[in-house]
Subunit: 253 residues, 2 copies
C-alpha cells in the first residue's frame, strides 16, 4: 500500500462506519415498531449490529498499524467529537451513562416517545437485578479506564524523556523536521506503545458493550439501547460539523 493512502483509507473506513450506523439505526427502529416482537429476530439484529462494531474496530486497528497517531485526534472527526475522545474512541463508561440516562428518562416519562404505538419504553423496565449488574459493570469499567488512562499518561510523558528529548537536543541548530534513522526508530517504539494501548481501549469498549447487550439487557431493551446509542453518535457528528462550519474550522469534510 502506498503510505500516502494511510489518511484517506482511514477516513474512508470511518465514513463507511458512519453510513453503516445510519442503516443499522433504520433497521433497529423498524424492529421496535413491530407489534409482535419475535425474540430470536431481535437477538439476530443485535448480534449483527454488534458485529458491525467489531468489524469496524478490527479494520481500524489494521489500518492504524501504518500510522497510529492519526487515530488519537482524527481530522475526519469534528472538533466536538475530538474534544470528547478518550484513547482514540469514546469512553466505555459513557455506554453506561447513556443507559442510565435512558432508564431515568423512560421512568420519569420525560422522553417523548419516538416510536408510535408503544405505551412504555422497555428501558424503563430494568429490574433491580439488572440495575445491580449495570452498577457492577460501571465500577469495573471505570477502574479499567483509569488503568488505561495511566498507561497513556506514561506514554505521553515518555516523549519528554530519553531517547527522544535527547535526540532533539542533538539535532542541528536549524530545525528541519528531517527524520533520521534514530528519530524514526524512537518514534516507531512510541507508536507501538500507542497501538497497544489503543487496542486495549478497543477491547474495553467492545467488552463493555457486549456485556450490556448480551449479559444484562433483554433483546428488546438491547435493540432500544443500540438505536439510542447510534442516534446519539450520529447527532453528535452532525452537530459537531455544523459548529465547525460556523467557526470556520476543519476543511476535511
Amino acid at each position: 500500500m502506498d503510505s500516502n493512502d494511510d489518511h484517506n483509507q482511514s477516513e474512508r473506513c470511518f465514513l463507511d462506519w458512519m453510513k453503516l450506523q445510519e442503516v443499522d439505526l433504520g433497521e433497529l427502529r423498524q424492529a421496535l415498531t413491530l407489534k409482535e416482537k419475535n425474540e430470536s429476530l431481535l437477538v439476530q439484529i443485535v448480534e449483527k449490529v454488534f458485529q458491525h462494531f467489531q468489524d469496524y474496530v478490527d479494520k481500524r486497528a489494521q489500518l492504524a498499524h501504518n500510522y497510529v497517531s492519526l487515530y488519537f485526534a482524527p481530522s475526519w472527526n469534528s472538533s466536538l467529537e475530538n474534544s470528547m475522545l478518550w484513547l482514540a474512541g469514546c469512553r466505555p463508561s459513557s455506554f453506561i451513562r447513556l443507559l442510565y440516562a435512558l432508564c431515568g428518562s423512560e421512568v420519569n416519562s420525560h422522553l417523548t416517545e419516538y416510536i408510535e404505538g408503544r405505551k412504555r419504553g422497555d428501558l424503563g423496565d430494568l429490574s433491580s437485578n439488572q440495575l445491580n449488574m449495570v452498577n457492577n459493570l460501571q465500577s469495573k469499567t471505570v477502574k479499567q479506564e483509569e488503568k488505561l488512562t495511566s498507561k497513556l499518561a506514561s506514554l505521553q510523558e515518555d516523549l519528554a524523556d530519553e531517547p527522544i528529548s535527547i535526540i532533539a537536543q542533538r539535532t542541528q541548530t536549524q530545525i528541519t523536521g528531517e527524520l533520521n534513522e534514530e528519530v524514526e526508530r524512537a518514534l516507531k517504539d512510541q507508536d507501538e506503545g500507542m497501538m497497544r494501548v489503543m487496542k486495549e481501549a478497543d477491547n474495553l469498549r467492545l467488552n463493555t458493550l457486549k456485556e450490556l447487550l448480551f449479559g444484562i439487557l433483554t433483546p428488546v431493551q438491547a435493540v432500544e439501547y443500540l438505536a439510542a446509542s447510534k442516534k446519539l453518535h450520529l447527532c453528535m457528528h452532525e452537530w459537531g460539523k455544523t459548529r465547525d462550519q460556523m467557526h470556520g474550522g476543519r476543511s476535511n469534510y
Copy 2:
C-alpha cells in the same frame, strides 16, 4: 469578531507562538555561549521567555472562549502532537520528565567530560536539595494532573447523559445537524465546563514551569532547561509535520 475567524485567529496565535519560541531559543543559546555569565542578564532572559509563555496562554484562553472545542485537538497541530495532548496542551509532569532526562544525560556525559578534561554541563550539577525539590514538585504535579484528568473524564461522560443524549433521541428521523436552541444551550454548558478545565490545566502548566525556573533551578540551569524545552517542542512539531506529509494526512499546513 466574525465567528468564522475563530479557527484562523486561533491558528495564527499558535503559529506566532512557534515563531516566537524559535527566536527565544536563539537568544537562550546565545546566553549560554557567553564565557562570563552575568546572572542578572540570565534572570532577565528567563523572565522574558516565561512571560512569552504566559502571554500565549492568556491570548489562547481569550480566543478559546469563542470555541473551546478547537483546542482539544487543534487542526494546526501535527497528529503526533495531538496524540500527546493532555487537556489542550502538554502534560505538566512532562516538564519534570524532561529535566530528569537532561540531568541524566548530563551526568552520563560528565564521565566523558571528566576523562576528556572538559567543563561540565550545568544541569548535571543539580544538588541533592534541588533534586528533592524536583521530586516533591513531581508528586504534587502528578496528583493535580490526575484530578484534572478525572474532571475531564466526567465532562466527557456527561455528553452521554441528560440533557444531550435525550435531546438526540428527540431529533427528527432524518439527522441534519441542525442546532436548535435546546442543543445550543446544552453544548454551550458543556463548552463552559471544558473552558474551566482547560484554564485549570493551563494554570498547572504555568505554575509547574514557574516553580522549576524560579524556585528550583539556578539562572544558568534555567536558561539551559528552557533552551532544551523549546528545542524539543520545535523538533516534535517539525517531525510531526514530516510524518503527516509521509502518510498523506492533514492539509492545514
